[in-house]
């Protein structure tokens, strides 16, 4: 069980999250939705320790990890995996080296790592032909699957997905969704998914909507389409009128 309590994050004078409270149930898939630029990725990166929160708590199995030293955090986050929005594959390494980077860096020989990589490759439905290809030779969907295989090699108990189907066509998106769902069921993973893709609700257990730095809705995925929460109603139907304002350009967009 992961508890996020009053989590706040500020970059210079801008508050990104203003007090997020969220309970992520173990062994379930929780989807976090929200407008672009609302801080969903920042929230996920705080969960895995890539960004330090300004204040608040992240409680993992009863222990608050906020404020802990890196080496202390490590033992709590060791079973966390992260799948990046654009896969974040190491572009100077081939698929084998990308998936096997962790054991290879820990000193395992390529000969010993190869069968593990092959197993993980088949887990994400990729053929062995891709083993020695470089990221630049892969399609977007393949990159995401390699990214997932790289995460799975660490045997995570919790996987955080940052917009796993962004930029993919509907068919590939569906394939990725099913893959995530299969992983979830097969390994009993706790999954947290950031997405704009409402089709993800078909596989999710819980849905949270992040707006204006706080969670405006948290409920069952199965009943979300019947929700009368005005934020959810507008967001999942993609309506331009409602309590959620149209996206404003951020300072970075000006460039």
């Amino acid at each position: 069980m992961i508890e996020i309590i009053d989590l706040k994050k500020r970059f210079k004078d801008k508050w990104i999250t203003k007090g997020v409270n969220l309970s992520i149930p173990e062994g379930k898939m929780t989807v976090i939705i929200g407008r672009s630029g609302e801080g969903k990725s920042v929230l996920l990166k705080q969960l895995i320790g890539l960004i330090n929160p300004t204040s608040g708590k992240i409680v993992i199995n009863g222990t608050n990890i906020v404020g802990m030293a890196e080496y202390e955090k490590r033992k709590y986050l060791d079973k966390f995996g992260y799948v990046f929005q654009f896969a974040a594959l190491l572009d100077s390494l081939n698929v084998f080296e990308n998936i096997g980077v962790k054991p290879l860096e820990e000193g395992a020989s390529p000969k010993d790592v190869l069968p593990i990589v092959k197993k993980n490759l088949s887990l994400v439905n990729l053929s062995e032909d891709t083993l020695y290809k470089y990221p630049s030779e892969l399609s977007g969907g393949m990159k995401k699957r390699v990214g997932l295989a790289r995460t799975m090699i660490t045997n995570p108990k919790v996987i955080l997905y940052d917009e796993p189907t962004t930029g993919l066509d509907p068919i590939t998106s569906r394939v990725i969704h099913e893959l995530m769902n299969n992983m979830q069921k097969k390994f009993g993973l706790t999954s947290v998914v950031i997405t704009h893709d409402v089709k993800m609700f078909d596989y999710a257990d819980r849905v949270a909507l992040l707006h204006d730095g706080i969670i405006k809705y948290y409920g069952d995925a199965a009943t979300i389409w019947e929700s009368d929460n005005p934020y959810v109603y507008q967001f999942i139907r993609g309506l331009s009128s409602g309590p959620i304002q149209a996206e404003k350009p951020t300072s970075r967009d000006k460039y």
Binding site: L77, L90, V101, G147
Partner: protein
């Protein structure tokens, strides 16, 4: 108005202190990682190969052109006082003690230091470094230490090439263009160039190699803001490392002279 001015300069000063702190802290982490974790020898050799082979042509060209021009300039000046037989000594000492290390340091900064910043900076903005961190891979052990160490080890070898090529360049100009005898050129070098001159030049080179890779990796690691950020970091890396090399050169010369 006064408060605004104080605020402005105060903020600038605090930002400068913060940047310097980060810069030194980064170096501290590199050194701590070097002594507390296993050195990835294969990665070290790859980096040495990349910096070395990538910059070898630059080092040779720098040596040859500097040696030739230096010999010509020295000849023009020394002919007036009848000191042509000292040209070999001056060219050799100049190349070994000063021009070889500093010019190669600056050239390799432009060639390899910028490449290191661009590579790590791109890894930063494309979340490759974050990916390594989520896999609990020590990025200092994986990325920074091999590069910084490779710079410190390989630059003296490159400078050795620059020194030799500079002396040969000077020789070619003196013998074939200015009509000096080979004995005149070489005897001065044999007589006045000492081993400690060579060691001094190589120590300087190693420090310059360390500086350019330290700055290169740090600027790459601190890259933000897309392609524009990578460009800005790369420029900053070359400028900062060059300035640091120039400043350090004076103090190193002074220190080495007293040893």
């Amino acid at each position: 108005m006064v408060i605004k001015i104080i605020n402005f300069f105060g903020n600038k000063f605090l930002n400068l202190c913060e940047s310097l702190g980060r810069f030194v802290f980064f170096l501290g982490k590199v050194i701590a990682t070097l002594f507390t974790t296993r050195l990835k020898l294969s990665k070290l050799f790859v980096q040495m190969f990349r910096i070395g082979t990538g910059s070898l042509t630059v080092a040779i060209l720098t040596g040859v052109s500097t040696g030739m021009a230096f010999a010509l300039q020295t000849y023009i000046g020394f002919r007036r006082v009848g000191g042509e037989h000292f040209i070999g000594t001056i060219v050799a000492l100049g190349m070994i003690r000063e021009l070889g290390p500093i010019l190669t340091g600056l050239m390799v900064t432009g060639r390899a230091g910028s490449a290191i910043t661009a590579e790590i900076g791109t890894m930063r903005i494309t979340e490759q470094i974050d990916a390594l961190r989520t896999l609990r891979i020590n990025i200092f052990q994986y990325l920074m230490v091999p590069r910084v160490l490779a710079g410190a080890i390989i630059l003296p070898f490159l400078v050795l090439f620059t020194m030799i090529c500079g002396i040969i360049g000077g020789y070619v100009v003196c013998i074939y263009a200015l009509g000096l005898s080979p004995e005149e050129y070489i005897s001065g070098i044999r007589m006045y160039v000492e081993m400690k001159d060579i060691w001094g030049g190589l120590v300087k080179s190693s420090v310059f190699g360390f500086i350019l890779t330290w700055v290169g990796t740090y600027k790459g690691y601190r890259t933000y803001g897309g392609a524009r950020g990578v460009g800005a970091s790369t420029t900053q890396s070359v400028v900062t490392a060059s300035i640091m090399i120039l400043i350090t050169n004076y103090f190193l010369t002074k220190i080495l002279e007293t040893l």
